[in-house]
C-alpha cells in the first residue's frame, strides 16, 4: 500500500519535508508510526512523545489505533491552535 504522508508545523520542521510517499504494510496508524521511527533519528525524535501528536486520515481526525485500510492520506500535526 502506498500512502501520502503529510507533516505540519514543528513535525514538518523536524522531519525536514512537508509530504512524502510511503510504501507500507502497516495496518494501523500506530504501526505506521513504528515503521517511520525505525527509519532514522529524525523520525524517532519527531514521534518520541505521541501525546503531542495528532493524526488525521483522509482529512478526518483519528486515533492512533485507527485502521489504515482504504486510507490514502495520513497527516501528522501538533494539537491545533486556531482562532
Amino acid at each position: 500500500m502506498t500512502l501520502t504522508v503529510l507533516y505540519f508545523a514543528w513535525l514538518r520542521e523536524r522531519i525536514g519535508h512537508p509530504r512524502e510517499s510511503v510504501d507500507t504494510e502497516a495496518t494501523t496508524v500506530a504501526e505506521l508510526v513504528a515503521e517511520l521511527i525505525a527509519r532514522d533519528e529524525r523520525y524517532a525524535f519527531t514521534f518520541s512523545d505521541l501525546r503531542a501528536v495528532r493524526v488525521a486520515l483522509d482529512q478526518q481526525l483519528a486515533e492512533f489505533d485507527a485502521p489504515l485500510a482504504g486510507v490514502r492520506e495520513v497527516a501528522f500535526f501538533p494539537p491545533m491552535t486556531g482562532g
Binding site: L6, F8, A9, W10, R12, A56, Q59, Q60, L61, E73, A75, F77, P78, P79, M80, T81, G82, G83
Partner: protein, 146 residues
C-alpha cells in the same frame, strides 16, 4: 453560511456590517474577531500554517454542528493563514439569530471548536526566534461544556 480561508487581510467592520445587513429576519447579530497580540512589544509577527485539504471541511463541520444545536439565520467564519503583523485581524466569526441567546452561544461554540479542531497552527516570531504556540489545556477543556 459562509466559510472563508484566505491569506489576505480583511476589514472586520465591513464584514460585520455586510453580515448584519443580509441577516434579514434576525433580531441579533454577535461578532467576534481575533487579533495578533503584540505581547508588550516582544512579538514581531505571527505565521499561521494550515492543512488546506482539511481546513475548509473542518470549519464546515463545526458550522453545521452549530446550526444543528441553535436556531441560526446565518453564520460567517473567516480565518487567515500566512504571515501577519501584531494588531492584525487573524479571524472572525459572526452569528445571526432571532434572539441574542442563540447568537451568543453559537459564537462561543464556534470559537471553542475553531481553537482546537480546525487545522491551524500559530508560530510567533520574536526577538529570540520563532516558537510554535502550544495548545492550552483550557482550550481542550472548553469543549467539554458543549
Amino acid at each position: 453560511m459562509v466559510v472563508r480561508v484566505q491569506a489576505e487581510s480583511f476589514d472586520f467592520g465591513a464584514e460585520s456590517n455586510a453580515f448584519a445587513a443580509r441577516a434579514t429576519g434576525a433580531g441579533a447579530v454577535v461578532t467576534f474577531c481575533g487579533l495578533v497580540r503584540d505581547n508588550g512589544g516582544a512579538l514581531a509577527g505571527m505565521e499561521i500554517e494550515h492543512y488546506p485539504g482539511m481546513t475548509d471541511s473542518a470549519l464546515r463541520a463545526i458550522e453545521a454542528e452549530a446550526r444543528a444545536r441553535w436556531s441560526l439565520h446565518d453564520t460567517l467564519i473567516v480565518h487567515r493563514f500566512g504571515p501577519m503583523a501584531p494588531g492584525e485581524v487573524i479571524m472572525m466569526v459572526a452569528t445571526a439569530a432571532r434572539h441574542r441567546a442563540d447568537a451568543f452561544a453559537a459564537a462561543e461554540f464556534l470559537m471553542d471548536y475553531l481553537k482546537s479542531r480546525a487545522p491551524f497552527w500559530k508560530k510567533e516570531l520574536g526577538a529570540e526566534g520563532a516558537t510554535w504556540v502550544a495548545a492550552r489545556d483550557e482550550d481542550e477543556d472548553a469543549l467539554r461544556r458543549w
